[in-house]
């Protein structure tokens, strides 16, 4: 795919050459790489990518075009896109147009013909960091833009991408009840999955207070995925503390992190995050492995709720279960790690033992990625129904 010469420069000064194949202008954001080999439209439109420039490591992007049904929001949230080869022609029976047109239509700056492997290795070795990219600008300008760009840590992006007004997604199929979803940047496929379970989904802004949520008499509250650092999300955390023990809770991704914070754990930034569709996650309950879809730059440190401290990750050999505490205690009772990432041993899920609440760091709704963990939505339903029964 031809296009005008373009440049991308990282905050630490690495320069990458390519061709501009998206919208005109400059894009600045934190650069992250995603190793998924398909599902680009779901990725670019995932609000969790707000403020980020996404490098797709797969060689060809845009091959099967775009289809409205794949959008995770009403617009792509990524700041920019960097690929090795953007397909100028798409081919798939579902396709409604080319990715290039989609990017331009939504004003996304995109670079193609970039040595994306070099860029990926750079991110791996020097960490996620701001990048500035565009065509018709000189290197120096981009270098300053990248160097002076704000880092993710400490930024509240969730509130910005959250819905300004509450709205309702109707249950599909036989109606079971109501779920309130606290929108921190929720993907459409999550709402689809909740609705498919027979729940009317009330999507409410990130700033909604616990009382207002309870007024909707939900059978359960869902904490959505979303962009950036969980720590500055004081209001949502407060809200969750007000809900814990009151109503069954299920959190995904950022929702998992804020639940962790609400329980009194801490969070930290991963060197370059988890972004892709091939991350093995161990289900500690039964030792089964789920291949998961992931997209996060921060993680929950469970040791804040446990005695002892995290052992060092082994320099060679596989990370072991000892990297996670056996149990944790919070002011809401006992908490246990439920899932572990087998690549780096980090916490992938937690479950409260005394109150109905659990969460996972990854994306059971997939979209894109493997659907091994879809069952978690059933678990949420069970949790809600049990709560009903005991109520």
């Amino acid at each position: 795919m031809r296009g005008t010469e373009a440049l991308a420069v990282t905050a630490d000064g690495a320069v990458f050459r390519g061709r501009s194949v998206g919208a005109e202008g400059i894009a600045v954001g934190e650069v992250v790489f995603n190793t998924a080999m398909a599902g680009y439209q779901e990725i670019f439109s995932d609000p969790s990518y707000a403020g980020q420039v996404v490098v797709m490591t797969a060689s060809h992007i845009g091959n099967y075009g775009v289809a409205t049904g794949d959008d995770q929001a009403d617009k792509p949230w990524a700041k920019g896109v960097i690929v090795r080869s953007l397909s100028r022609r798409e081919s798939n029976w579902r396709s409604e147009g080319t990715l290039a047109d989609y990017l331009r239509a939504h004003g996304l700056v995109a670079l193609s013909d970039v040595d994306t492997r070099r860029l990926t290795r750079h991110i791996r070795d020097h960490g996620a960091q701001p990048i500035a990219m565009g065509s018709g600008v000189d290197e120096a300008e981009l270098r300053d833009a990248a160097a002076t760009a704000p880092h993710m840590t400490g930024l509240d992006l969730a509130t910005a991408v959250s819905t300004p007004e509450p709205y309702v997604v109707d249950a599909t199929g036989e109606r079971r009840g109501t779920v309130v979803a606290l929108d921190l940047g929720m993907k459409r496929d999550i709402a689809r999955n909740l609705a498919a379970q027979g729940y009317t989904v009330h999507v409410v802004p990130a700033s909604t207070a616990a009382a207002d949520i309870l007024l909707r008499r939900p059978d359960g509250v869902f904490l959505s995925n979303g962009p950036g650092d969980p720590e500055p999300l004081h209001q949502p955390i407060e809200t969750i503390r007000g809900l814990l023990g009151q109503v069954p809770i299920f959190g995904i991704c950022l929702g998992h992190q804020v639940l962790g914070l609400a329980l009194g754990a801490t969070t930290y930034k991963l060197p370059f995050g988890h972004h892709g569709g091939n991350h093995p996650v161990l289900r500690l309950a039964d030792g089964r492995v789920e291949i998961t879809s992931q997209n996060h730059g921060f993680a929950v440190d469970p040791w804040a709720l446990a005695d002892g401290s995290a052992p060092d990750v082994p320099t060679d050999g596989l990370p072991g279960p000892d990297l996670l505490p056996a149990t944790m205690t919070s002011e809401f009772g006992a908490v246990t790690p439920s899932h572990q990432n087998l690549n780096d041993g980090t916490l992938e899920g937690l479950r409260c033992l005394d109150i109905p609440a659990f969460s996972v760091q990854y994306h059971p709704e997939a979209a894109p990625g493997p659907r091994d963990a879809l069952g978690l939505f059933d678990d949420f339903v069970t949790l809600m129904e049990d709560a009903d029964a005991t109520a």
């Binding site: 990926t120 791996r124 492995v289 087998l342």
Partner: protein, 1095 residues
């Protein structure tokens, strides 16, 4: 779940000889498995009849049985070794079939052997198409509509209500044999009838055809905890209707959205689960309707397959090794990913590059076969290429094939396309053939639209558009003017772009009318040189510890610094008839030996089936085409001490002098010496000097001269065009008429579709004809030896069973030589040493002689590793290839003895026989006679105390089930009668009844050998053919007279072939067969391990 401690010894079944549809990929998988199982402390018992495999090297198993892979023989092995378990899923269809047979015979129960990997029921469910469909439907997976038929009427009914076109599948067949698609009733009748005959149970499946749908394959791993992962997804460029083995395939899939892919993924994992594959790798094939996305499951193989080897090389995920570990109880999360070292095997590789596999065909060797591709596999090898984009990988794959093409056209090979009218071009694009892909290129060059071309070819438009991009870059190249060096910079952008789109220097030289060297110099001046990237399973997310590299043209180079001196070993590229696994075997041994000697070994090869392209065979692996350009680039990056060209067969040998001229240090024998042995005049001169006799010969540059030469040296003669290698297009000519015929054929208009061009249309003047006196009734002898400059090490002398005139690769051979006189052997050894010295050989040399009485004639000398090295290494218990590699690097045989690499003790005292395996069943219309042109795909080995038993084992291993008594049909060419008498007498003594045609009969009568006459073909109602077809003959001995296409002999041999009656086409073969029968079946089935023989 950790490793199982309740089993201690494991029987591993190999896949036997290389045949079409089952190549060295199973040596790769078996070797990986054997290695890892021993590392885990299990006792490995291995059986495989193929001596050219790494897995059958004694050090890879505790007990290695080079024995026929039959139920009877394996039961004996089980009885002797008493293994606790049997792992049948790594030896292809062969291992699976024999396992089923053993299980049904109750052998595993009797000896209390547990089947690990896949249980009998799982195998049966997957193999029996009927049960497979049921199982799929129950699990909610769609398959094509289909009905079984056991008669033509049933078949017709089925076809009618399914509607044409329909797919026909005989039950219980291997690798698509006998399958086909019928577009109308007439075609159906023919194919259904053939299918019903072909099926051992006389049953066919008539199936809805989804011709033209997109074809996909997923490689799945499953552990006993029920965890499933997709290792690799593969998309076929050729649509449904062309066997995946014959298709150009691409990894990862390119034209599926994530939704569609995830649905397919879930179905693939479900498929393994419901079929009941407990652990290991399987591949599941899907068809997808491009218009609607409707998806059908086509089949699944509950075992490691050809595609698993491809998937392993394409992703860096060692499927066979992991499958073996899973089979002994580990689960995926417990196994580390070798490449990262610190992440588990329970993940799905992420690719940041594109892999293209292209099949290699040898149709030119099988004139009876049309070159149209179908549902039954016909390719004999494959090349794989890796690039950062599809266009780059695609062009690299096409030039890796070594079919004379430099890439996706833009080379001399495209010259003929210009004459094809547009309409005809589109028609030809619609028919799948080996050359179709290049015609697609031509169509794009002519500016036909992507849509039009895609519609005609059934290639997905996305791929066609990527190809169109290649053509746009080509147009830019053609537009750019290549001026004086001063103005180089002007072409920098287009040059860079061209390289990024995979254009080879050869293509650019063609487009810019320059030499390849000029292009390379230009690139160097402008700094347009390849960068090497790592295959790391994870798209760079984690650091990789295994330098498995491919070239591309980008910013960053990942070649790690080296601390030890490096040696580059050039592999043998895609398998083809005449150059197969034997040469990969030698390259692997070189890597092992040089690694042990402290060198950092660098392997270069592009054949995904091989052990040499396993990333842990050598210290560094470059998965690259074997061309001057690609090898020079690697040499520049690695700066090796030397490059080994002697062991990879013709492929690296053809590069040797070009590399040397460009300053590359060649290990061992100098390219000049290699050329000297190849160049007829020089070589004859040398032989005269040394007093070595050659058959009288000459070189003709005109028809007239050809006849003059024949006048001088006399008929019959062996002729071959000088531009054709490896015995291609060789022919024995008995008359002047045949000579003229031959000249017309060769220098007239034959095209070598799919195979190396025979240079059709060349003129005698610049492509002369080589003429040798054909030595009749001569014994052929092969010798493999190593020379270090002081001392000659003879690996062994192999005496051929079939007479000279039958290619060494197609004839059986015996070592030590049973009938060769000591005098003749002395002459042979002296000639070998004299030549080795005169050619300044450092390393291996192979010679072929023809011996009449005590007259020894040299046929050819190749100062390089030969096809017989693996066989002779096992027969003599000397690691020839390892020793040769060290000698090439300067070690002397004496040093290697003291070092212990070269054994000093006496040779083992047993007889070894090698028998060739030919692909007749793939080319049902081909006459099965042997000749000077090699057509064998593989070989087997038989070992015993006597030649008879060893030969019997070899025949059995080669799949020739000799009858123990019954009727032998004898019909011999006059020149064979004398020798045939002995064979006839032998069979009579064994109690066989001889049935002969008049000529042969009269001859036998004359010597008092009882026989019964049968009318010649067509002379009576109950003629020979009728006799054979009605099953009244148990064995056919028929030697060819001349080459008349529709001769009686040909019809007889075809009839035997179709009726599944063993047919012997040489008298020597017949006599040896009789001798092996005398030895008795019991003796043939006796088993003894190689370790035991060698001790």
């Amino acid at each position: 779940m950790p490793r199982r401690d309740d089993i201690h010894s494991i029987l591993l079944i190999g896949s036997g000889p290389i045949v079409i549809g089952q190549a060295c990929e199973f040596d790769y998988s078996g070797t990986q498995a054997a290695k890892v199982l021993r590392k885990e402390g299990y006792r490995v018992v291995l059986v495989n009849s193929n001596p050219a495999t790494i897995m059958t090297d004694p050090e890879f198993a505790d007990a290695t049985y080079i024995e026929p892979i039959t139920a009877e023989v394996i039961e004996r092995i089980i009885d002797k070794e008493r293994p606790d378990a049997c792992l049948p899923t790594l030896g292809g269809q062969t291992a699976l079939n024999v396992t089923t047979e053993l299980a049904k015979a109750g052998v595993f129960e009797r000896y209390d052997v547990e089947l690990i990997g896949a249980g009998l029921d799982a195998i049966d469910k997957a193999e029996d198409r009927g049960r497979f469909k049921e199982t799929m439907e129950e699990a909610g997976l769609a398959t094509p509509r289909a009905t079984y038929a056991r008669s033509m009427t049933e078949a017709m009914h089925a076809a009618r209500d399914i509607g044409y076109p329909v797919m026909i599948r005989p039950s219980f067949i291997l690798g698509g044999g006998g399958t086909g698609v019928a577009h109308d009733e007439t075609e159906f009748i023919a194919k259904a009838r053939y299918g019903l005959d072909y099926s051992p149970v006389g049953e066919i499946l008539v199936e809805e055809s989804v011709l033209g749908w997109k074809e996909y394959e997923l490689e799945v791993m499953r552990d006993r905890a029920g965890n499933g992962v997709i290792v690799c997804s593969i998309e076929n460029l050729d649509a449904m209707g062309v066997h995946t083995g014959d298709s150009i395939t691409v990894a990862p899939v390119q034209t599926l959205s994530d939704r569609e892919y995830q649905e397919m993924r879930d179905e693939a994992i479900k498929c393994l689960q419901v079929i009941g594959v407990e652990t290991g790798g399987s591949n599941v094939q899907f068809a997808v309707d491009p218009a609607t996305g409707r998806r059908l499951v086509i089949e699944m193989n509950p075992r490691v397959s050809r595609s698993s080897a491809l998937a392993s090389k394409a992703t860096g995920f060692p499927i066979a090794k992991i499958a073996a570990l899973l089979a002994v109880g580990y689960t995926l999360p417990e196994i580390a990913n070798d490449i990262t070292g610190k992440t588990p095997a329970s993940f799905e590789p992420a690719l940041d590059y594109v892999v293209v596999k292209a099949p290699r065909f040898d149709f030119a060797k099988f004139p009876s076969a049309s070159n149209v591709l179908g549902t039954s596999m016909q390719s004999v090898g494959e090349a794989m290429a890796i690039g950062r984009t599809f266009p780059e990988a695609f062009q690299k794959a096409l030039r890796s094939l070594e079919t004379g093409r430099a890439g996706f056209n833009a080379d001399a090979g495209e010259s003929t396309y210009g004459d094809i009218p547009d309409a005809q071009l589109l028609e030809r694009i619609a028919i799948p053939t080996p050359s179709r892909v290049f015609l697609v290129g031509e169509a794009l060059r002519r500016g036909m639209s992507v849509t039009e071309v895609a519609a005609a070819s059934h290639y997905d438009p996305w791929f066609v558009d990527q190809m169109a991009e290649i053509y746009e870059v080509r147009a830019d190249v053609e537009a750019a003017q290549l001026l004086a060096a001063a103005a180089d910079d002007a072409v920098l952008p287009v040059l860079t772009e061209a390289k990024r789109y995979g254009f080879s220097d050869r293509q650019l030289a063609h487009l810019w009318q320059r030499t390849e060297d000029e292009i390379r110099d230009l690139r160097r001046r402008l700094g347009v040189t390849p960068t090497y990237k790592t295959v790391d399973t994870c798209a760079a997310e984690f650091e990789a510890h295994t330098p498995y590299l491919y070239s591309t043209f980008e910013d960053e180079d990942e070649v790690p610094p080296a601390d030890r001196p490096r040696v580059v070993v050039l592999g043998s590229g895609p398998n083809r008839i005449g150059q197969g696994i034997e040469f990969d075997y030698c390259c692997v041994h070189a890597a092992f030996a040089l690694g042990d000697a402290g060198y950092e070994t660098v392997m270069v090869n592009c054949n995904p089936e091989t052990v040499s392209t396993d990333y842990d065979t050598s210290d560094r692996l470059y998965f690259e085409p074997l061309t001057v350009e690609d090898v020079l680039a690697i040499v520049e990056s690695e700066q090796p001490e030397a490059v080994v060209v002697q062991l990879g067969g013709q492929t690296p040998l053809n590069l040797a002098s070009q590399l040397a001229e460009r300053g590359v240090p060649i290990a061992g024998t100098a390219p000049a010496s290699i050329d000297r042995a190849e160049d007829r005049e020089q070589f004859s001169a040398l032989c005269r000097e040394l007093g070595i006799r050659q058959p009288p010969h000459g070189i003709a540059t005109s028809a007239v001269q050809a006849e003059d030469i024949v006048d001088q040296i006399g008929l019959p003669v062996l002729v071959r065009p000088s531009f054709v290698l490896g015995g291609r297009a060789m022919r024995v000519v008995y008359s002047y008429e045949e000579l003229t015929e031959y000249l017309d054929e060769m220098y007239g208009g034959v095209t070598g579709d799919g195979a190396a061009s025979t240079g059709a249309g060349f003129d005698l003047a610049d492509r002369p004809l080589l003429i040798d006196r054909f030595l009749e009734a001569a014994t052929e002898v092969d010798v493999d030896a190593i020379y270090d400059g002081h001392e000659l090490l003879v690996g062994g002398i192999m005496e051929h069973v079939e007479e000279a005139g039958i290619h060494s690769g197609d004839s059986a051979c015996i070592t030590p030589p049973p009938t060769l006189s000591p005098e003749a052997q002395d002459v042979i050894l002296r000639a070998t040493e004299d030549l080795a010295e005169a050619l300044e050989v450092r390393g291996l040399i192979n010679l072929q002689f023809a011996v009449k009485a005590n007259d020894v004639f040299l046929l050819e000398a190749n100062p390089r590793g030969s096809r017989t090295v693996p066989f002779i290494s096992k027969a003599a218990n000397v690691p020839l290839a390892k020793v040769a590699a060290r000698v090439m690097m300067g070690a002397t045989l004496a040093e290697l003895r003291t070092e212990g690499l070269l054994p000093t003790e006496q040779r083992p005292d047993f007889v070894s026989v090698k028998e060739a395996v030919l692909p007749w069943n793939r080319f049902p219309e081909e006459d099965i006679v042997l000749g000077p042109e090699m057509r064998a795909t593989g070989e087997v080995m038989g070992i015993s105390d006597t030649a008879g038993v060893a030969y019997g084992k070899a025949l059995l291993a080669a799949g020739l089930e000799l009858p123990e008594t019954g009727n032998v049909f004898f019909s011999l060419a006059d020149r064979d009668k004398a020798f045939g008498l002995a064979a006839a007498q032998a069979f009579t003594m064994l109690g066989f009844k001889l049935i002969c045609t008049s000529g042969t009969g009269r001859y036998l009568d004359h010597y008092g050998v009882p026989n019964e006459l049968v009318p010649k073909v067509g002379e009576a109602e109950h003629d020979t053919l009728d006799l054979i077809e009605s099953g009244q003959v148990d064995l056919v001995v028929n030697t060819p007279r001349g080459r008349r296409a529709r001769s009686d002999g040909r019809q007889i041999r075809l009839a035997a072939q179709h009726a599944g009656i063993p047919a012997l086409t040489t008298v020597q073969g017949a006599l040896a067969a009789a001798r092996s029968l005398q030895a008795g079946r019991g003796a043939v089935a006796e088993v003894r391990s190689l370790q035991d023989w060698h001790s």
